[in-house]
Symmetry: C3
Subunit: 272 residues, 3 copies
Amino acid sequence: MNGIKESAAKLLTDLRKNVPLVHNITNYVTVNDVANAILAIGGSPIMADDIGETEDITAISSALVINMGTLNERTIASMIASGKKANVLGIPVVFDPVGAGASRLRNETAMKITEQVKISILRGNMSEISFIGGLEASTKGVDASESDSRNDGEALAVKVAQRLGCTVAVTGAVDIISDGKRTVKLYNGHPMLSKVTGTGCMSSGITGAFAGAGKDYLVAAAGAIASMSIAGEDAFEKYGNIGTGSFHMGIIDALSRLDGEAIMKRMKIDEK
Amino acid sequence: MNGIKESAAKLLTDLRKNVPLVHNITNYVTVNDVANAILAIGGSPIMADDIGETEDITAISSALVINMGTLNERTIASMIASGKKANVLGIPVVFDPVGAGASRLRNETAMKITEQVKISILRGNMSEISFIGGLEASTKGVDASESDSRNDGEALAVKVAQRLGCTVAVTGAVDIISDGKRTVKLYNGHPMLSKVTGTGCMSSGITGAFAGAGKDYLVAAAGAIASMSIAGEDAFEKYGNIGTGSFHMGIIDALSRLDGEAIMKRMKIDEK
Amino acid sequence: MNGIKESAAKLLTDLRKNVPLVHNITNYVTVNDVANAILAIGGSPIMADDIGETEDITAISSALVINMGTLNERTIASMIASGKKANVLGIPVVFDPVGAGASRLRNETAMKITEQVKISILRGNMSEISFIGGLEASTKGVDASESDSRNDGEALAVKVAQRLGCTVAVTGAVDIISDGKRTVKLYNGHPMLSKVTGTGCMSSGITGAFAGAGKDYLVAAAGAIASMSIAGEDAFEKYGNIGTGSFHMGIIDALSRLDGEAIMKRMKIDEK
């Protein structure tokens, strides 16, 4: 059996060969970056959120990504309908509970989605996953609070993974990914990633592309999150001293050049 | 009489002088790029999609662009109301049937719009225009399927142009544009354009700007599509080996520098 | 007492220390740039517009920015509910009446908001502020008309500031800012800023960040608008001859590097 790193590298090669169609029900703030990130990593994005077509679009896709960044009543119904459709058809569902903890609507929606849809991969920051885990979250807006770093991410990831029966990725300075049995830590990335909006959304988007290319969701999540983090390192090397606009562009550049070989060379993973 | 190329070059010069206001009812994925592409080519974009104002905005504009990329019930009503208003006032209507063939909602909407609104220029990929033409489309998401290339684009463009009484642009590796009498082929562009989301939407947006600047819609479509393709070539020369983020930025850079002289020098057209 | 310039420079330093959360109810055309501009200047953006959560999000924020660029019935209700909530809690409200004068819906909405919500800072171009001031606006789309420059911006800013009891910023080649008692003129900026969509929206967004960092709203508006203008100058120096795509990126780069020292060095202000 390969290690997670080898499997993630191979999965990226497969992804670029198979070009999975990834259906995104996502927010209007970062949607362009999510589409371009999915294209850059080798997938094909489609965005559709009207209840009149959302299940049809899910049905022709290889993965569904639900991101509740700018949720509203209309799109919440579409998220749940598409999630159920994906479940029936065995299509993987990635859920990014953006801002869970920040408003009652977000809390209720996150709960509704996790109750009614079988999630394959849950990706969020410590605040968001803590909320899903029933811990006291200290959300400040949509970004992770500093105080969250005191929580024990590993125990949280394992607990939520076991409760929801899915893979959970808690992203931050160190990324922790668990499917309830296996747990890995990733050490790539750069703090400047938090100075560009949507790097979390892009991570979830490309997680959809990886999940659409292979069935081991721990590998898919690890590969996608490492890809985003390595892209951040690469963008920082080239543009860190120029500013966040160039750095933003550099992330997409780096994703578009990334391949399995680069994953093997640069991914820093602690596999237990 | 000038050739199409000379006329397109002259039209771009006129466009930059007259700064046509272009009303876009479009999707939230690529809307920022569409606005910036219209500004870059010399037009003035306005986005408005609420039924409470959409006809008012159309009425003060020089062209209307309807793009059904992320259609929903609310915006479909606005597309039709604005289209009818444009027809009454003699304002050109560009229609981009994004993803026609991919869901029943998109199919029905494309049919409804072509039935209820007199289109001036229809722009789409082979899958989308095939669907409008009543052929069996093999749509895979919002991008053209490879199998579509087996179809005969020229016959399709002519047929749909005659049926709808409009100019039809089927864009792809070779772009085919017909108004039912005249048919031209364009040979500019670069495959990397398909690795950035929204290059089709941007094409339709600047087609609106060209159509708002002159009444020969075959010339307008040819000028706009050649502009986008030349911008893609230019961006590839500068940024092709860096990545799709830089290339994306380079497209807007190139559009903003493009003028009639560059059209004369670089546009590759086969005029029958 | 410090001059406005010294105070604005100090406010930027405070902003970067305190990282105010800025709630934006804004348009889908420029929302990504607004979020990245707020991050670049040192704030933390959150976008939320569903009536089910918008007041909750306002309540945890340091400032609210209402931008009516792509208003619709659903979001208009949210703008007013959030504005009232901000008023109750003493949270500053920035209002950007995008396209006021261009449609009856925009006119009525601008009126409704200024009647029902106590605005802290009103920011717009001459056309838009003229409309709010009850003057005859000559709006052409969402950009300022040339004929507007004949109007007397200073008298307008003072009049509207006194009537609404707020700070008014009329932005253009020269920016005029008045709180009804104090009036300043700013001379930074570059014409190329009008060739990128959303530079006005970004100005309003970072005005929210400045207003969330300090209570003197004339200083906040002056600091924010000078920051945007200086970023435009900086971006033009680096990318002016390359094109509007690079220039666009350069604006965010420059904002992310800007500090109090740069404000002291570059801000050109006429303080009466």
